[in-house]
């Protein structure tokens, strides 16, 4: 059976569309998902800004990502927080300012560690199990 060029083009378009949707769905399935907690967990956080430090801890929080816990700290202690969102298909937040210390001021940027380990995912994709200490530091780029 010989297919016309138009039919072949439609088939190619269909294959491309199905494959692209499948790839995006697979990427979404690999996105870290924080579990819904039935009881609170304990997390501690230190935020070292430009000449100031904020300490915050909770023994009963259900905000189990670094970003959610930072939001909780900002809400509880009344300090400012600014972030931007990366769009889907792999959305993530990027922290731009905490308590008036804004990225790129004097070449410093916000980065964070969990239990002393440098974070390699975005704050909203870093899931906390309980018992961790999060450190946010406003610092010049390190390494490289």
């Amino acid at each position: 059976m010989v297919l016309s060029e138009r039919v072949k083009a439609a088939l190619l378009a269909a294959i491309v569309a199905v494959s692209a949707i499948g790839l995006l769905a697979a990427a979404q399935s690999l996105r870290p998902q924080p579990p819904r907690l039935s009881s609170g967990i304990s997390i501690a956080m230190a935020i070292e800004g430009a000449g100031w430090t904020i300490l915050y801890a909770s023994n009963d929080t259900r905000n189990n990502t670094v970003f959610l816990f930072l939001l909780e700290a900002a809400r509880t202690l009344h300090f400012g927080l600014r972030w931007s969102n990366w769009s889907p298909p792999y959305s993530a937040v990027f922290i731009e300012a905490i308590n008036e210390s804004t990225n790129a001021d004097a070449g410093r940027w916000w980065v964070f560690w969990v239990d002393g380990v440098y974070a390699d995912t975005a704050a909203d994709l870093t899931v906390l199990e309980g018992g961790e200490t999060v450190l946010w530091r406003f610092t010049t780029p390190q390494g490289g």
């Binding site: 995006l24 440098y118 390699d120 390494g143 490289g144």
Partner: protein, 201 residues
């Protein structure tokens, strides 16, 4: 009998290269906030496939140079530091060159405005994307993650969802722009057929 040249195949190679640069730069800037969805790989590959490896280099350097300058000028990437940024730039530019050369190798058998050609280009965009991602993730580890204590295996593991998105981006943009540009590109030069001479067999 004189053959009539199709009216739409009238752009020069330089015209097509310029349009590909616009697609690459415009797509990158418009999709800046969408991780790993980009038009540069398609532009580089198509430059190679339709115009040859020299144009693949020209388009890649122009797209990366212009878009990197604009992106860094508005403050992106500052958190990485100058050394890391230069290192990552070397990996991304060379990675896109690879894609252009892969396109050029594929284009040697002539890319035409046919479904078959688009299917071939789309298929070839898959290893080109994988090669780019493996290469640039290594650069990321070398200049960013490695010095901060993250292992290469972790970097590659974390790269997987981004590579899946990048593959989706490539298999959509390569045939989409490929169809448009194969229509606009100069017709591949045909082998000259010797004129029949007078005589008898």
């Amino acid at each position: 009998m004189a053959q009539r040249a199709p009216g739409f195949r009238k752009l020069t190679k330089l015209d097509v290269a310029f349009l590909l640069i616009l697609v690459g730069v415009g797509g990158r800037l418009l999709l800046l906030r969408v991780a790993n969805v980009e038009t540069i790989l398609a532009a580089s590959m198509l430059a190679g496939a339709l115009l040859g490896w020299r144009y693949a280099m020209l388009v890649t350097v122009a797209v990366m140079g212009v878009s990197d300058a604009m992106i860094y000028a508005i403050g992106y990437g500052g958190e990485f530091g100058t050394t890391a940024l230069l290192g990552i730039t070397a990996f991304t530019w060379s990675g896109m060159m690879f894609a252009g050369f892969i396109g050029a190798a594929a284009g040697r058998s002539r890319v035409l405005f046919t479904t078959r050609s688009m299917a071939v280009l789309t298929t070839i965009s898959i290893p080109a994307t994988l090669l780019f991602d493996v290469w640039t993730a290594f650069g990321d580890w070398l200049f960013l993650a490695g010095p901060r204590g993250v292992s290469l295996a972790t970097v590659y593991y974390l790269q997987i969802p981004f590579t899946l998105i990048h593959l989706a981006s490539s298999i959509v943009f390569v045939p989409l722009f490929g169809s448009i540009f194969s229509l606009l590109a100069p017709a591949p030069s045909a082998e000259s057929v010797p004129e029949p001479t007078e005589g008898r067999l």
